[in-house]
Point group: C2
Chain length 257, copies 2
C-alpha cells in the first residue's frame, strides 16, 4: 500500500517505521517540526513536504499521527484524495475528521515512546471506518504489522482509552512512587520487580477483584494508619493512598453484603 | 533443617510446601483452624498439634506464618526452645516477637495465594535476625527455596511493605477498575494485557517518572474532563482518577520548574 505520514512525534516515528518495514511504500511525511519530519522522511526513504496542499493525492492511507487537538484542523487541510484519512487517537471520535468521505481510526493500544515498542505484532489495533472500503484498507494495513485487530466504534474506543489510563498512566505513577520510596531508603528496585510482574499476570489470569490482598481489603486500620503516617511528608501520595484504600474497602464491603 | 509451621493460611501452605519440597523436615503444624492445619500437616507428612505448649522443642526454625495481629500473642505461647522464632510479616517489627533470644523475620515479597507462586526461586526474601546465629539459620532456610536474599531491618522492611502496597494492592485495584470498564461495554480483556505488561517492563527498565504519558502529564484538560464525566456514576473511581491526575500534574510541573 501507499501510505502518507502526517506527524513527526513518537507515534509517527514508531508506526511509520513499522509500516515501512512491513514493505509498504511511504509516499511522504508532513510534520509541524521540520527537523523531526525531515529525520523521519530520511528513515522512511521518502520526501518531506512543507505544505499539506502539495502532498501526493494517490496514496491509499493518510495517517494522522498527531496530537488530539490538531486532528480536526489538519484533516481539513488535506486536499481531496481517494485515500482514507485516519487518525491514531484513542479519545478522538471519528467524526472529528469532518465531512471527508473516506475516514477512519487506526489506534494502537500501547504507550509509544522512542524505540518502544520494537514490534507491533502483539499490540491490539482498534480500527474504525466511515464506510466498508475505508475499514477494509485500514484492516489490511494494520494486519500487515499486527496480529491483533479489533473493530471498535468511537464510544467503545473512548471507554478503552479510559481503561488504558488506569492500566498504564496511573499504574506507572504508582510504580514511580513505589520506586521513589525504595530509593529514598537505599533499597534496590529488584525487591519489587517480581511483585509488579505477578500483579499483572494474576490480574489477567484470574479475577483482580477476588485476588485483592493487603491492608485495605483486610480493613487493617493499624497498618493503614502506619502507612499514612509514613507518607505525611507527601500530601499527594497520602491522598492517593487514602483514596485507593477507601475505594477498596467500599467496593469489597458492598459486594460482601 | 527441622522446621515447625505455625499457621494454616495461604502463607503457611505456600511456604510450608516449598520448604518441604526443598528437602527439609517439617516437625509439625499448629493452626487455629483445625481443619486447615490438619490438611497442611498431611501435605507436609508431619504431625498436627492442637496446643502450642506441646510442640517439639528441637526444631531449628519456628515459622510464624500468621496474621500480623496474632504474632505477638502466639510467639509468647511458644515454649522455650533453641530454635529461631521467625514471623513472615512485612509490616510487623522484629521487636513484636518479645524477649525471646533467637528471633527473626522471614518475609517473602510476593502476594501469596492458593497455589501461587508455584516457586519461590525468584521471589526476594527479606531476612532479619535478633543475632548472627538466628540470621544465619534464616539465610540458610531462605537460600534453599530462593535465589534472592536480602537482609533488611524492620524500618526498611516497613518502607518496602508500603511500596509493595502501591505496586501490588493499588495496581491490582486499578486493573480491576479497568477490566470492569471493558466488561461493562463487552470489550475483551485482551485489549489491555500487552499494555499492562509493558507498563511494568518500562517502569523497571527505564524511569517511570520520565516515561509517564497520557492526559494528566500533558495537562490535557479536555480529555481529563471527558474521562471524569464518563466516571460520574462511580464517585469512588472518579475520586481516584482526580487524585492520581492531580498528583501527576503536580509532580511533573514541580520538577519542570
Amino acid at each position: 500500500m501507499k501510505v502518507f505520514i502526517i506527524g513527526s512525534g513518537n507515534v509517527a516515528f514508531s508506526l511509520g517505521q513499522a509500516i515501512f518495514r512491513a514493505g509498504h511504500e511511504i509516499c511522504g511525511v508532513y510534520g509541524r517540526s521540520i527537523e523531526k519530519a525531515l529525520l523521519l522522511s530520511k528513515k522512511l526513504h521518502c520526501k518531506y513536504f512543507e505544505e499539506l496542499n502539495t502532498i501526493p493525492k494517490n496514496c491509499d492511507v493518510y495517517l494522522l499521527a498527531v496530537s488530539d487537538d490538531a486532528i480536526a484542523h489538519l484533516s481539513a487541510k488535506i486536499p481531496q484524495t481517494k485515500g482514507v484519512i485516519a487518525h491514531t487517537s484513542g479519545t478522538t471520535p471519528l467524526s472529528s475528521l469532518g465531512k471527508i468521505t473516506d475516514t477512519g481510526v487506526f489506534y494502537p493500544v500501547q504507550t509509544i515512546k522512542n524505540n518502544f515498542p520494537r514490534s507491533f505484532k502483539k499490540i491490539p489495533f482498534c480500527l474504525e471506518g466511515s464506510n466498508e472500503r475505508s475499514l477494509k484498507k485500514l484492516m489490511e494495513l494494520a494486519g500487515s504489522i499486527s496480529n491483533e485487530l479489533y473493530q471498535l466504534n468511537s464510544k467503545q474506543r473512548m471507554i478503552l482509552h479510559l481503561s488504558a489510563v488506569f492500566t498504564n498512566n496511573f499504574n506507572n505513577h504508582l510504580l514511580s512512587i513505589a520506586r521513589d520510596l525504595l530509593r529514598h531508603y537505599h533499597l534496590p528496585d529488584q525487591l519489587l520487580i517480581e511483585l509488579a510482574r505477578a500483579t499483572v499476570i494474576n490480574a489477567f489470569e484470574g479475577e483482580p477483584y477476588s485476588s485483592q490482598t493487603g491492608p485495605a481489603v483486610r480493613n487493617d486500620v493499624k497498618t493503614i494508619d502506619k502507612h499514612l503516617e509514613m507518607l505525611k511528608k507527601h500530601p499527594g501520595r497520602q491522598q492517593i493512598y487514602r483514596q485507593l484504600t477507601d475505594d477498596i474497602i467500599n467496593v469489597h464491603n458492598n459486594k460482601k453484603k
